[in-house]
């Protein structure tokens, strides 16, 4: 496997302080490798967006990062903790190293500026030397990349369809050819043709530039096809992590399993969809044990009292996958220290 570019270690994110605080992300360990597409899927409200914004410190108040480290490995340099950067350093780091496509595309675009202005803006901020003409032509090129005709450069955001706005955001994220691209449900409003086109572009660019992608989506079929590894989140924690096909064929965590039995297939015979009974956990007061335990068909006593740790399961020893489930305890000393 390639060397890591981004290592998230023990990230904790809360909304609010004290008793009312929502623990949206808890003790997340995740590594993004060079040139890799890491898919992140999971329950709605499980903290995917929070994780994505949290690691770049873009959470709006009252979000705050309670602890953890986000190590970034720059090209040929010493890794540094993104969470410890000064605002100035952070600004230089942003977009040039990691760019983000936000979930709400409409609100991500400034309503009073033209699309072109907003694209040109980031080019200018990180490359002040470039000429206006070159920036504009780059903007045109970027739009073409995501399949928007260049005559829409002068459109204001409210004149674009939902999908077009998303594509503008994707184009913007690729503008500086950063090393890490975080995409939070970037294709929800895109048709599959466009989606495929764009992802193909992305793959091609990745091949060429070697950047890594953290890809958040609910479209599991897409993930399986497109990503190298998939992490599944539940209740603010990563519950399973594996290569796409592995996960699809052989999911270990009962929640992942449930997910995979919840989406319809386009081809072949209609198959039975089971879904996952029960309701999501309350992130303000999580159960003491595994967050999924109340809904889990296989839960046993331990699940209700101890939080399982994410680790390589003993029954798949040697593989590069990990799971947090007592059904598949790890080989190592079961240091189930509640964090």
């Amino acid at each position: 496997m390639n060397e890591p570019v981004l290592e998230i270690q023990g990230l904790d994110v809360d909304y609010g302080l004290g008793a009312e605080a929502v623990h949206a992300v808890q003790d997340v360990h995740l590594t993004l490798h060079r040139g890799e597409v890491l898919g992140l899927a999971g329950e709605s409200g499980s903290g995917k967006s929070t994780l994505a914004y949290g690691l770049t410190r873009l959470l709006p108040p009252p979000g705050m990062i309670r602890g953890g480290r986000v190590l970034y490995h720059p090209e040929g340099g010493e890794p540094y903790d993104v969470l410890r950067l000064t605002p100035r350093q952070l600004r230089d780091f942003r977009w040039a190293e990691t760019s983000i496509v936000f979930q709400g595309a409409m609100n991500s675009l400034n309503p009073v500026h033209k699309v072109s202005t907003q694209l040109v803006d980031v080019l200018k901020a990180h490359d002040p030397q470039s000429t206006r003409a070159s920036r504009l032509s780059r903007a045109r090129e970027l739009l073409r990349l995501v399949g928007i005709s260049a005559d829409r450069l002068d459109a204001y955001p409210h004149q674009l369809s939902g999908g077009m706005r998303q594509r503008v955001m994707i184009a913007m994220a690729l503008a500086l050819e950063p090393r890490v691209v975080i995409m939070d449900e970037p294709t929800t409003a895109l048709d599959v043709v466009m989606q495929r086109q764009i992802l193909a572009q992305l793959v091609e660019l990745r091949e060429r530039l070697g950047f890594s992608v953290l890809f958040i989506t609910h479209d599991l079929s897409l993930l399986v096809e497109f990503s190298d590894r998939i992490a599944i989140m539940y209740g603010g924690r990563i519950v399973e992590q594996a290569r796409g096909v592995e996960l699809y064929r052989d999911s270990l965590h009962p929640y992942s399993d449930g997910l995979l039995h919840s989406f319809p297939a386009l081809r072949g015979p209609r198959r039975e969809l089971t879904g996952i009974p029960g309701s999501p956990p309350d992130q303000r007061a999580l159960p003491p044990g595994c967050a999924f335990a109340p809904r889990c068909p296989h839960a046993f006593d331990r699940c209700h009292s101890e939080v399982p740790v994410l680790d390589v399961p003993a029954d798949r020893d040697g593989s590069d996958r990990s799971v947090a489930c007592w059904l598949h305890p790890s080989t190592g000393p079961t240091a189930a220290v509640p964090s």
Binding site: G16, R57, P60, M64, I65, R66, L83, P87, L90, A285
Partner: protein, 332 residues
């Protein structure tokens, strides 16, 4: 909220988990903006003036118009704010004058704000002929110069009470607010959530008052504060330039007397300073209250509550968009 959440809690069919947000808690959050010292200060000062407005004339130590033999005396134990050229007690005049100032300010502010909201938001939202008509109306009112108009109307009315003055000021000063609100509304009316409300069958007045208006609160609040200050200033100005025939004592009449007797040139600063300061303090209190408004209005800011938190090292970090604070792990 239209429905008091506390009642719902009692009536809820199933027991709520003990830690869920209950009505009072939500309400507490709503008023958390007061915890920011500024807004609270504003509120307290305002309350103080309101109380003075009610009891001022009663607690005044002297009849504010009564002459005495202590002409132009500096402040002393007997006359806290000194006396006038007729030996009247300035302190009593200030006290007695509060009522009229508050009455005029608040009434005019309310009248103008209501008109501004009605005309501005409605014309912005409706568009078309009625919208343009209302907009023309507010433009006409905007074009008429308010202060001279007030002077003239004040002149034409043989002798009106405070309320009349307040209404006149209110009626002549709403157009600005209407104009600003209209413009804001124009940009809000096509927002998705307004469309969504429309599509869900909300009647127009409800869309105006419940969907658009809350998003305009910051503007409305500042225009309300603006009009109140404007109204107070107008009343005082009228009295100061000697045009008004209004109530006997307000801060403006005190200043008028001080000015016409050239108090400052005489060295009688006490005659001139208290009333002016009182106006300034009142205006400041209103503006301070305004500071809390944004937090009161925008739920995003409201739930943020404080603007600062302490991190693990005990340093204070400012909460701000774009730079999420990192607290560092603390022992759980």
């Amino acid at each position: 909220m239209a429905v008091p959440a506390a009642d719902l809690k009692a009536a809820a069919p199933e027991p709520l988990p003990p830690d869920s947000i209950t009505g009072p808690a939500a309400r507490r959050r709503r008023f958390r903006f007061l915890s920011g010292g500024k807004a609270l200060t504003g509120l307290i000062v305002l309350a103080f003036f309101v109380v003075l407005a009610v009891i001022g004339p009663w607690i005044a130590p002297y009849d504010p118009s009564a002459r005495s033999d202590d002409l132009i005396e500096a402040p002393s134990g007997r006359h806290w704010f000194g006396t006038t050229h007729l030996g009247q007690d300035v302190f009593s005049q200030v006290l007695a004058g509060t009522r009229s100032v508050m009455l005029v300010g608040v009434t005019a502010g309310v009248v103008a704000t209501i008109l501004a909201v009605l005309v501005g938001v409605t014309s912005g939202y409706l568009g078309g002929t009625p919208g343009e008509g209302l907009s023309a109306l507010s433009n006409v009112f905007l074009v008429i110069p308010a202060l001279p108009l007030i002077i003239i109307i004040g002149t034409a009315l043989p002798s009106g009470g405070d309320t009349l003055v307040a209404v006149v000021i209110g009626l002549t000063s709403w157009a600005w607010g209407a104009r600003v609100l209209r413009a804001q509304t124009l940009s809000l009316r096509r927002r998705d959530y307004v469309e969504a409300a429309r599509a869900s069958g909300e009647p127009t007045w409800r869309i105006i008052f419940f969907e658009i208006l809350p998003n305009l609160t910051a503007v409305i609040a500042s225009s309300f504060v603006g009009t109140v200050v404007f109204a107070v200033m107008s009343e005082i100005t009228l009295a100061f330039v000697g045009v008004s025939a209004f109530s006997d004592w307000n801060w403006g009449t005190i200043l008028f007397w001080a000015q016409s007797q050239q108090a400052l040139a005489q060295g009688a600063w006490w005659w001139f300073v208290p009333a002016g300061l009182a106006i300034a303090v009142l205006g400041t209190a209103l503006s301070l209250l305004n500071f809390g408004i944004d937090e009161f209005v925008s739920p995003r800011l409201r739930s943020a509550g404080t603007t600062r938190v302490k991190n693990a090292e005990g340093k204070t970090v400012r909460l701000r968009a774009g730079f999420t604070p990192v607290l560092g792990r603390e022992k759980r």
